[in-house]
């Protein structure tokens, strides 16, 4: 039997996670994220205007400046901007998580297989990922979502269908560098099958790389998804997508700057938090591949 090192590993992990809190920038990122998550999860209880999400108009309250009643003002149809923003956080976080859940396992399996088996499996997977990386992610996602149709669901499908490529690429590189390591040879000599080697010997050694990449990607997916909303391809009003809200205010910058400005800032803080955390995790694990 191969000796199990799990308990050691988890103790080590806990120690490293504690070290994460020594870096002030990471702590800042975690704090911002904590606030945003609380706002998103408890959104309906944190605003008196939860009824204004979705189709709603009240022109008598349109273009109100930021005040105590409306901290971020109201928009061109009289909705409370702060309410739109905290519900927008929900959408951004939801999309980012769903996209990763939908794309990472697929990409990881393909990448490990390509790196482990080599030969024609490698060639096919490499060429296919080449094609999906032949355009910047935003543009590829725009094309797919533009063709599929104007809804949040189509944005998610578009993002999943391109996102697995990076994970396939990363796992391919990692697997190739690891598959001739002595401990993998040892497992093979002891009669471990291909599946066991790929997913019990090689994959656990890629967890830190994957963790860093996924943390940074949460920010990156939100950036791209909001960009799609901003361009009017993907989610459309009255979906409270942050990019959509920003776009809806650009026509009124001269008179009601708050409609665009506050959602933009909120969006920047959200992405910033993931980048700060991601960089902290990267330094912690000393990962180079990403």
């Amino acid at each position: 039997m191969i000796p199990r090192l799990q308990p050691e590993r988890s103790k080590e992990l806990r120690r490293q996670l504690r070290r994460l809190t020594y870096d002030p920038l990471t702590v800042l990122g975690l704090s911002i994220l904590a606030v945003i998550v609380v706002l998103a999860v408890f959104a309906p209880f944190l605003t008196p205007y939860a009824n204004q999400v979705g189709p709603y108009t009240d022109f008598s309250h349109a273009y109100l400046r930021p005040s105590l009643a409306h901290p971020f003002g109201t928009d061109n149809v009289g909705k409370d901007v702060y309410t739109q923003v905290i519900f927008g956080f929900r959408i951004s976080l939801f999309v980012a998580i769903i996209v990763l859940v939908g794309s990472v396992p697929f990409g990881v399996v393909l990448g490990v297989a390509a790196g482990y088996y080599g030969g024609w499996v490698e060639t096919i997977i490499q060429r296919v990922t080449d094609v999906f990386l032949a355009l910047p992610a935003l543009i590829f996602a725009l094309v797919i979502a533009g063709i599929l149709g104007p809804s949040l669901q189509d944005v998610i499908i578009a993002l999943i269908s391109i996102w697995w490529n990076w994970y396939a690429r990363i796992m391919y590189t990692v697997t190739k560098s690891l598959k001739n390591q002595p401990y993998v040879e040892a497992a093979r000599v002891q009669g471990a099958g291909s599946l066991r080697i790929m997913f019990r010997e090689i994959l656990p050694n890629a967890t830190s790389t994957l963790a860093v990449k996924m943390t940074l990607d949460l920010g990156f997916i939100i950036l791209i998804q909001s960009g799609m909303g901003f361009l009017g391809i993907g989610a459309r009003p009255p979906t409270p997508d942050l990019g959509v809200i920003v776009a809806s205010g650009t026509a009124y910058l001269g008179t009601a700057w708050w409609i665009s400005l506050f959602p933009s800032l909120a969006l920047s803080f959200l992405i910033l938090s993931f980048n700060l955390i991601g960089n902290g995790v990267r330094d912690l694990f000393d990962v180079k591949v990403v």
């Binding site: 080449d130 094609v131 355009l135 910047p136 992610a137 391809i233 400005l261 910033l272």
Partner: protein, 338 residues
């Protein structure tokens, strides 16, 4: 692997990739039940007229035949008509591309000219505080969406103060047409008023487009310079009393530049995506704005053509970077041979 062989392989791979991309984009744009004939002719055309138009477009034929016809036509400069404006797509792209090309090219030059010195200066004043500053600049640059920066700039310099123009590429008359890039054309024709005009229009979009890259390049230069000062050769030369100027600039900076140049190349290619966002904010009227309008309206000839143009730009640049790296570092070429 010999260098020529390496280059040939790269070029071949790029072509295979572009063929794959064209197949995916073409099938995607045709596979959904949209109704191009109806879109082009409007709600008052009869069913017969729509069917006739569809026949003219060739969309009643099998998809793979349509694809081969499309590629044949594309390579022969016949990119079809826009379903909405009925303009020739090729001449539209020729009209819109220079504005975007100018925007991203000036941006990458500015990124290099500001980012690299910033990193060098930071390395000279290295320390915990400098590290933190550079890091914050880098992370914020990546985190803030370009359209947010654009909107903030518009508010500051347009709506609140009226210092700079915040839309389009020019206010006054255009310079004589040479390249289609207004700044370059006004330089070439020594047209001073147009030069100032286009410069003013370029400023804000360029800032919105370049901030992220400047932070990234500064951080990379800074980290690279610091790494070099830990290397044995550096410490040895320093111990022998080598003067710091050539030591830092002839040796350390030069070695630190390899990853910086690579990232500059990758940035240049990916700027075209951020240009999509910045162009919309500033109503720039370039290729991106043209493509976005097409995507919003399912104008498939325009979508396929613009995406392929962007794909060619992106893949060519990425291949050139690979070839450049293979030229500098033979280990990369040998790695491919295995």
């Amino acid at each position: 692997m010999r260098f020529a062989e390496f280059v040939a392989r790269r070029v071949l791979l790029a072509i295979v990739t572009l063929v794959g991309l064209s197949i995916i984009i073409f099938y995607l744009s045709r596979i959904l039940p949209s109704n191009p004939g109806r879109l082009a002719l409007g709600p008052f055309a009869t069913a017969g007229q729509v069917a006739h138009y569809d026949h003219l477009l060739g969309i009643d034929r099998p998809l793979y035949i349509q694809y081969f016809l499309y590629v044949w036509n594309f390579l022969n400069g016949n990119w079809g008509l826009s379903l909405l404006s009925h303009h020739n797509v090729l001449s539209d792209v020729e009209y819109y591309f220079p504005g975007t090309f100018e925007l991203i090219t000036i941006s990458i030059i500015a990124t290099a000219l500001i980012g690299v010195p910033l990193g060098v200066v930071a390395a000279a004043y290295r320390g915990r505080r400098t590290s933190a500053l550079i890091r914050i600049l880098w992370i914020c640059g990546i985190a803030i969406p370009p359209f947010t920066i654009g909107i903030a700039l518009q508010l500051m310099f347009g709506y609140f103060t009226n210092l700079l123009p915040i839309t389009s590429q020019l206010s006054g008359p255009a310079p004589a047409h040479i390249t289609g890039m207004y700044f370059v054309d006004s330089l070439l024709t020594a047209n001073f008023p147009a030069l100032v005009d286009s410069f003013k229009h370029l400023l804000l979009p360029e800032v919105a487009l370049s901030l992220a890259g400047i932070g990234q390049i500064a951080q990379l230069t800074y980290a690279g310079m610091l790494d070099q000062t830990q290397e044995d050769y550096y410490l040895a030369l320093k111990a022998f009393g080598a003067p710091s100027y050539p030591l830092n600039f002839r040796y350390a900076l030069r070695t630190a530049m390899v990853p910086v140049l690579t990232v500059l190349g990758l940035l240049y290619a990916s700027l075209i995506a951020n240009a999509f966002l910045v162009e919309i904010v500033f109503a720039w009227g370039g290729l991106s704005q043209y493509a976005v309008a097409a995507m919003q309206n399912n104008d498939f000839n325009v979508i396929v053509a613009t995406v392929l143009v962007i794909g060619v730009f992106y893949v060519t640049l990425n291949s050139l970077i690979d070839i450049g790296l293979g030229y500098i570092d033979p280990r990369i070429r040998l790695g491919e041979a295995k």
